[in-house]
Every structure is written in structure tokens, then in C-alpha cells.
């Protein structure tokens, strides 16, 4: 049992922090937020020159793709190293992850050729995936998906629609789940494809979220202003676009999603507001009526802080299991219940600490901390829905973790 880090790990953290101080400048962050100094416009979400330069520098330090094998351009490092580096960059507002579960899936299920093609480019950020799983009628129940990939002689023809393909307008590829065998049981006829977004027949339609107009400040929980619908009309792709075996896509996707659940980003989005409100209270304590002097508010803040620690500790537990090469029974699901619900609880508790200031969005005069608390109210609950709802996670804890039985038949209430 060891809750600390080795001197080497601490030195690495220091190194990362020094790098951030030197390189993650206000200009870089302004560009990240679409506020280029030269006033030029880019498609939202696509990196500008300063961000490109920053990622190049981070790459040269060996901090991109840390856990990926060296033969595919990674560092062959461990997940804890990745965790330390990622946490600090995330706190500084820079995402050094490879963007979801696509890259792990390629590594786990790709052909040698696919791995050699995709992984190095994903690490160098020349390729990026958007996630093409969810559909209008297949959300929590993903296996209900209808998007068809009909086999042809030399490949497949894709027809269908994907929802909430968040970075579809800026990604180079889509990591797509589609049905290759409509006759098979619903989990057995699904395959995964890696498809360039410029393939003819793909159309991306923006879906603006309630975080649009005004946009949420960086670091807001589910602060995305835009997501997309992506339509496939007779999209012809070669056989080589298939990832893993045909009709075995469900298992590949699920395994990679589980991997994606461990890491710094998942818990950080749920605890940033805890830090923010404590720091705000500390810095805004004029007079005896300041919220910081109110014992009821102090009590609530301490309660939230404890819960935030549990978020952190559950993440450390998951990291420890992964480091040891173990497998989760229910620990990943527990993290995925606790952290999002905590994030919502903190967000809502803060509204009552800030009172009318809590409603002011980013573009408002008098907005508190650039409106991050108000925008968080708009977004926090999304983290309990996406990538496995808290309801489904609790089902999994109960059934897989605790061995509780499935329901036999319709229940008749007394």
C-alpha cells in the first residue's frame, strides 16, 4: 500500500510542470480557444500553428503515446507514467491523450499494417478519430445500432446515420461501428471500421449544444459547443478498412471502451469545480457575510472535498489494478458512477453558494471565473450519461461485481 510517488515520478512531474510553465503560454491557450492573435478563423476544434508547435514539442519530449510500443512510435512506458504526465497537462488545459478508444482498439485488434499506419500518426496527431458508435435509436443500448456495412466483392458499402460524432468536423477518420450481418443475434453481426472522413458519401451536420452561444470556458464539464450527426450514403470502403474480424466488432469496441475508462481525464472533469469553488471562496472573503465565513457553506464544501478525494482515490485504485496487470471486477464501473454523480452534486451545490452570480455565462459582465460554474450546470449531468450511464454501471456492479441475479420475468407489484 503506497499512496505516494517515487522520486523519479516526482521528478517527471516537476519536469512536466516546468515544460508547461515555459510552453503553455497565454497565446497558446488563446489559440486553443479559437482566439488567434491574427484574427484568422479555422474550423473549430482544429489545431492552429501554436498548438501544432506545442504538440511537436511535447512529442519530442516523449510524452505522446507513452504507453504505446516503441515499434509503433510510442514510448513503451507504463500507465502510471502516462497518468502523471496526462494529469498535469489536463490541469494546464492541454489534452495529450490519443482521443478515446480508437487507438487502443487498433493496437488490440488491428493488423500489423493498420498498427504501423495508424498508431504513429495518431501519436503525432496527424490522424485523429471521431467516434462513430451512437445512433438516433442506439444510445445506452448500443447493440441496437442499424448503420449497415454491406459486404461487396472488394469491400463494403456503408449506409446509415451516426449521432453525437463530436469531432467529426475536425477528425481525419471515423472509428465506426456498423452492422455487417443483420440476421445474426444483435451483438454478433457488428463490425468496426476505420474510414477517412473525406471518403465520398459522408456528410457531417453540426449539432449545436446548449453550451453554444456563449461558449463554455475551457475545462467546463461537457463544455463542447458542437457535436455532429454524420450521414453515410453509399459510402464505399475497401476491405482494409475493417478492424479485426468481420462480425466481431462488439467485443473489440467494448474492450477498448473499458480501457478508455481508466485515466486522469475521467476523474478530473468531475473534481475541477471542487478546487475552483474552494479557491474562489478563499479569494472572495470580504466581510463577515462572505460565503467563506458561513459554517453551512463551509460544511458543504468539506463534504464535497471528501467526495472529490474519493474520486481521486478510486482512480488511483483503478490505476493500481491496471499497473499490476489485474482486471476489474467492478472497480471501473464504481469510478464511473461515483465521479459523474459527484460532479453533478458539486455543480448544483455551488449554485446555492453563488446565488444570482451562479447563473452568469461566459460572455456576461460579472461572470464568476469566466462563467465556468454556470456552464458546468449545463454540462455536468452529461458525464453520467455518456460512455455508459450510471444506471448501467450500477447494474454491472451488482451483477458482475456482487453476483446478484438477473430478473426472471415481469414483476407483478402486490
Amino acid at each position: 500500500m503506497d499512496f505516494g510517488y517515487t522520486p523519479d515520478q516526482e521528478a517527471l512531474r516537476r519536469e512536466v510542470l516546468d515544460f508547461i510553465e515555459a510552453n503553455v503560454t497565454p497565446e497558446v491557450l488563446a489559440e486553443r480557444d479559437g482566439k488567434d492573435a491574427d484574427g484568422s478563423t479555422r474550423p473549430r476544434g482544429r489545431a492552429g500553428p501554436r498548438m501544432k508547435e506545442l504538440y511537436d514539442k511535447i512529442h519530442r519530449r516523449g510524452w505522446l503515446g507513452i504507453t504505446y510500443p516503441k515499434e509503433y512510435g510510442g514510448q513503451g512506458g507504463d500507465r502510471l507514467t502516462q497518468f502523471i504526465v496526462e494529469e498535469e497537462f489536463l490541469r494546464a488545459g492541454i489534452n495529450i491523450g490519443l482521443g478515446g478508444s480508437g487507438a487502443p482498439a487498433v493496437l488490440a485488434a488491428g493488423t500489423e499494417e493498420q498498427k504501423r499506419y495508424f498508431i504513429p500518426r495518431l501519436i503525432r496527431r496527424e490522424i485523429s478519430f471521431c467516434l462513430g458508435f451512437t445512433e438516433p435509436h442506439a444510445g445506452a443500448d448500443l447493440a441496437a445500432l442499424r448503420c449497415r456495412a454491406t459486404p461487396t466483392q472488394d469491400g463494403y458499402i456503408i449506409n446509415g446515420q451516426k449521432m453525437y460524432t463530436t469531432s467529426a468536423h475536425s477528425a481525419t477518420h471515423i472509428y465506426l461501428m456498423a452492422r455487417t450481418d443483420p440476421e445474426a443475434p444483435r451483438h454478433d453481426g457488428i463490425s468496426i471500421f476505420l474510414i477517412p472522413m473525406d471518403t465520398p458519401g459522408i456528410t457531417v451536420r453540426p449539432l449545436w449544444t446548449i453550451q453554444n452561444n456563449p461558449e463554455a470556458p475551457h475545462g467546463t464539464t461537457y463544455g463542447e459547443a458542437r457535436t455532429n450527426e454524420t450521414f453515410f450514403d453509399d459510402v464505399r470502403i475497401p476491405k482494409s478498412a475493417l478492424l479485426g474480424e468481420e462480425n466481431k466488432g462488439w467485443g473489440i469496441g467494448a474492450a477498448a471502451l473499458n480501457l478508455d475508462r481508466v485515466g486522469a481525464s475521467r476523474y478530473l472533469i468531475s473534481i475541477r469545480r471542487d478546487e475552483d469553488i474552494v479557491n474562489w471562496l478563499k479569494e472572495n472573503r470580504d466581510g463577515p457575510d462572505a460565503p467563506a465565513e458561513n459554517a453551512a457553506i463551509r460544511d458543504k464544501v468539506a463534504e464535497l472535498w471528501i467526495e472529490a478525494q474519493v474520486c481521486r482515490l478510486m482512480t488511483l485504485r483503478s490505476m493500481s489494478i491496471v499497473q499490476r496487470g489485474g482486471r476489474f471486477t467492478y472497480e471501473g464501473s464504481a469510478e464511473k458512477v461515483w465521479a459523474p454523480e459527484h460532479g453533478v452534486k458539486t455543480t448544483e451545490a455551488i449554485t446555492q453558494m453563488l446565488g444570482p452570480y451562479g447563473q452568469l455565462l461566459s460572455s456576461s459582465p460579472h461572470a464568476v471565473e469566466e462563467g465556468v460554474f454556470a456552464h458546468n450546470v449545463m454540462g455536468a449531468f452529461q458525464s453520467g450519461i455518456n460512455h455508459g450511464s450510471v444506471q448501467i454501471m450500477r447494474d454491472q456492479i451488482a451483477r458482475r461485481g456482487l453476483g446478484l441475479p438477473s430478473q426472471r420475468r415481469s414483476r407483478k407489484p402486490a
Binding site: D141, A144, D289, E348, T351, Q352, L360, V377, Q391
Partner: protein, 397 residues
């Protein structure tokens, strides 16, 4: 004792609902979010024809003189439709003028309000954002038969639409309340951008001159008038909030019946069922608390504890309901083009206004714990601030 609506009350509510279902589309709601003034004068006028603005104003000025409960029912429907009408700020200010204004002020304001030709608001809170006993730094200095107002108010409702505004100012010894024409020289405003996307403003008063005669109530002693006004405002906001929250919950329940996952409607899962059951329990609870507070006001009974009970409960529970409605909707509720957020964003905003849960609960605790005598639930709680309707009527007569 019968806490259900009377037939007449139910009729008024149903009429309001049907009217707004016909007149207030979500397109109108969205249009008004983008509109700098923020309300449709045509609809405002129609509301006046239905008697909404004058519902609780004295009959002498064209009103219907009905109890406040009726206005609460109408505001529930306004909330249900998230109707962009400045009814809440107008009626709260008008009721204060009716109760504490001079005959001349009533004559100047109330008939126009009743006819739907005037919009009112008030400006109390300043930068400390507090609801009870806010630190008021705006000053009003008497110069001859005028006062000169200087200061900055925050979170003022509907200012771009308002003709007059009740402004609380420090006047030497105490607080005074003035009825100020919003077009007076020296007044400027900045729009705040809120989750509700309503029209809230920062209003800056720079050497604004108004006649001394424009004060409401005695000089330096406006504190109790303001407290009564804010209590009315709080409980009426609860009504509006509950109307919106119930509609929001109904949309979620309907969605749960329709949306399928794992081969059945998501509403067939016990976890979703229990979530929905709780939502309805919470809304009902808030409604009962709100009705009781309104009823006590109408009876001239002490009501400060009851108002705070309603607002603290609604703050917490309405927020939880609209969040759960979002959760039941999954991703779609997060999309701008889907309507659900129109309710979610407004209810969220309202929970943060007119007193936080902490502020209201502190007031309740004071009444429960700091006053002498044992408490019994359902019996009169010792009183923090007392004002009987008889007194009110006497003063407004």
C-alpha cells in the same frame, strides 16, 4: 381545510394553460431569447385582456382584487409555457405600489399595468448578491424637492422592457424605495447573460434625479416594505418555477414511455421509474409548500417561514428534477435544437435568484431556534416578520 384547488381556481388555471398552449410556441420563446427587449407586446396585451396583470390589484384601479393564490396559479402556467412575459416583475412591483404607494402613484401606475400598457420591475440587490439584508451602497440624497440617486444595481429583471423601476437606496439613516422612470437621464444598463437567457441587467444610476414625491412609503424606513415585496417575489417565483418544472418532468416521463432501449421503453426500468416517481413527489411537495405560503399571505397570517420553506425546497428539488429530466433524455436534451433546455435553463436560473437555499434556511432556523417557546409542526411558528393583511389593507386604503 382542503388543500386542493377549488373549481374556480382550477378553471382559471386551465384557461391560462390553454391560452398559453395556443399563443406561446417554443419558437416565440426562442425568438425572445434573442430579442433585446425580450417580450412580445402583443401577447402582453392579450394577457391583460385575460386580466392577469390586474388579477390581484385593487378593483378601484381596474384590477380584480383576487387573492395572491390566483396570481400564483397564473404564474405557474407562465412557467409551464416558459412564456417570455414580464408578469412576475410587473405584478410584484405593482402590488407594492398598491400596498405602499400614494394615491397619485397608484393612479399613475396601476390602471396602465392592468391594461397591459406598462411593465414594471425593481432594483434591490447590489454587488454582494445577497437576498436578505443586502449591502445597499446606492445612495439617494435629497436636494430640494428632488433626490439624486447614485449607484449600481444588479440582477434587475426586464429592465429594457420596464417603464418604471422600484429602486432601493440608502438615505442617510436607513433605506428608502423610489419609483423611478427607467428613461430618466443618467440611467444606463448592461445586459447580463444568464442561463435563462432572460433579460437581467446591471443598472447604473449616475446623478439620476427623481422627485422626492416618488418615494414609496416613509423615508428611511423602507426595510419592511422591501421585505414584504421580496417575500411575494420569492413565493411567486416558486410558483413559476414549479409550473416549468412539472412540464419538464412530464416531457421526461413521456419520453421514457416512448424511447426504447434493450427491447423496451426505458420507462419500464425500475431505476427510471423510481427517478420519475421522485420527481413527481418533489414537485408536489414544492407546490404544497408554495400554496400554503400564498394562502397564509392571503389570510394575513405570518408567512416568512413558509415563504422561505417553499423557496429553499424549490431551489434544491426543482434543480434536481430538471437535471433528472435531462438525464432521462440522454444526449438529445443537451442539443440546442431540441426544446427541453428551454425549461432546464430557466429553472436552473430561477433556483439561484431571490434567495439561496442557505439564505432561506438560515431564516427558518432563526425562527425555529432563536425565538422562545417549543415548536410544534403545523402550529404557528414564532414569527420573524409579521404583517397582517388587515394592516396591509388599512395602509393601502
Amino acid at each position: 381545510m382542503d388543500v386542493l384547488l377549488t373549481e374556480e381556481q382550477d378553471m382559471i388555471r386551465t384557461a391560462a394553460r390553454e391560452f398559453l398552449e395556443g399563443e406561446c410556441t417554443t419558437k416565440l420563446v426562442r425568438d425572445m431569447e434573442a430579442d433585446p427587449v425580450g417580450y412580445p407586446p402583443g401577447l402582453w396585451k392579450k394577457a391583460a385582456e385575460l386580466g392577469w396583470q390586474g388579477m390581484c390589484l385593487p378593483e378601484d384601479y381596474g384590477g380584480s382584487g383576487l387573492p395572491l393564490v390566483y396570481l400564483g396559479l397564473v404564474l405557474q402556467e407562465v412557467g409551464r409555457a416558459v412564456a417570455p412575459l414580464p408578469l412576475h416583475s410587473t405584478t410584484v412591483a405593482a402590488l407594492t405600489i398598491a400596498r405602499d404607494g400614494t394615491e397619485a402613484q397608484r393612479q399613475a401606475i396601476l390602471p396602465a399595468v392592468v391594461r397591459g400598457e406598462m411593465v414594471l420591475t425593481w432594483a434591490i440587490t447590489e454587488r454582494d448578491g445577497r437576498h436578505f439584508n443586502p449591502a445597499i451602497e446606492t445612495t439617494a440624497v435629497v436636494e430640494g424637492d428632488e433626490v439624486v440617486i447614485n449607484g449600481t444595481k444588479l440582477f434587475v429583471d426586464n429592465f429594457p422592457a420596464a417603464d418604471h423601476c422600484l429602486v432601493a437606496c440608502r438615505t442617510g439613516e436607513g433605506l428608502s424605495l423610489f419609483l423611478v422612470d427607467t428613461r430618466s437621464p443618467g440611467i444606463s444598463q448592461r445586459s447580463l447573460v444568464t442561463t435563462a437567457k432572460d433579460r437581467q441587467s446591471e443598472v447604473i444610476f449616475k446623478d439620476v434625479r427623481v422627485p422626492v414625491a416618488s418615494r414609496i412609503g416613509p423615508l428611511n424606513e423602507a426595510g419592511p416594505i422591501i421585505e414584504v415585496m421580496l417575500d411575494r417575489a420569492s413565493v411567486l417565483l416558486c410558483a413559476q418555477m414549479l409550473g416549468a418544472t412539472r412540464k419538464d418532468a412530464e416531457m421526461a416521463i413521456d419520453y421514457a414511455k416512448m424511447r426504447e432501449a434493450f427491447g423496451q421503453p426505458i420507462g419500464a426500468f425500475q431505476s427510471v421509474q423510481h427517478m420519475c416517481a421522485d420527481m413527481i413527489i418533489w414537485i408536489d411537495g414544492g407546490e404544497l409548500l408554495t400554496y400554503e405560503a400564498l394562502w397564509r399571505m392571503d389570510q394575513g397570517l405570518p408567512h416568512s417561514v413558509e415563504v422561505s420553506q417553499a423557496k429553499a425546497f424549490c431551489n434544491d428539488r426543482c434543480e434536481a428534477v430538471v437535471r433528472n429530466a435531462q438525464i432521462i433524455h440522454g444526449g438529445i436534451g443537451f442539443m440546442m435544437e431540441f426544446d427541453l433546455h428551454l425549461w432546464f435553463r430557466r429553472v436552473s436560473s430561477w433556483t439561484m435568484r431571490l434567495g439561496t437555499s442557505y439564505e432561506h434556511r438560515a431564516r427558518i432556523a432563526k425562527a425555529l431556534i432563536d425565538l422562545p417557546g417549543r415548536v410544534i409542526l403545523g402550529r404557528p411558528v414564532p414569527v420573524v416578520m409579521e404583517e397582517t393583511r388587515e394592516e396591509e389593507l388599512r395602509r393601502s386604503a
